[in-house]
Symmetry: C2
Subunit: 107 residues, 2 copies
Amino acid sequence: MGAAVEESLDLEKALKAIASPRRLQIMQWLQDVAANFPAQVHGDPVKHGACNLFITDKLEVSQPAASRHMKVLVEAGLVVATARSGWVYYRRNEPAVDALKHQLLAL
Amino acid sequence: MGAAVEESLDLEKALKAIASPRRLQIMQWLQDVAANFPAQVHGDPVKHGACNLFITDKLEVSQPAASRHMKVLVEAGLVVATARSGWVYYRRNEPAVDALKHQLLAL
DNA sequence: TAACGACATAGCAAAGTCGTTATGGAGCTC
DNA sequence: GAGCTCCATAACGACTTTGCTATGTCGTTA
């Protein structure tokens, strides 16, 4: 794929991504990483986001289940993953979220 | 305050309802019934909406499939059904759609 | 009454979703 | 290197979604 262009938001994919209680909650948690997750040693909450392990713990599902939920959100463009020394941090892709909201307002 | 009725909108149900290309398109068609559907004899396009038969034709699926899609939208509260002398007309429930948009803006 | 048209429901099969456990790669520490 | 943690993928089962055809109900019409 090429450079990230938020205007090419796949509405159906984004809607299916958030039409799940787990993933909707993840998106809400990621609104404030510092407030909703424990302190991290290796990544900045604001700049990089929350790591998969913390999300797994909060979701109370298995680690692979959380991992796949994050993959769905990433592939929908709503979340950005940052790999960093063994950990993977996830943060919201606000331009994409805004694009989604904008498209939904025309619904 | 306008007609911002705080309905008991089930966010997950509403999201799942529109997270389908068929149903999303139906919602868009229902934005302008008079423009998107043939003239009706027995029901007013604006007041009552479009009948199941026209939606079936536009969707290019079987009549039961269209009927079930409409049921999902009705049960999500996004569409209102009006039975009238053998026909059933469907129209958007704008307050519910507005409530959905409002909730999504907080995402 | 009989026939027809519009719609809903039942029943079935293919495909997708979402949980699990098992396994493997990448990076850190000793 | 050995061992550990974090994360992703594979493989499987249970459940849900979505298409179809067949059938039933209801209201109108001849």
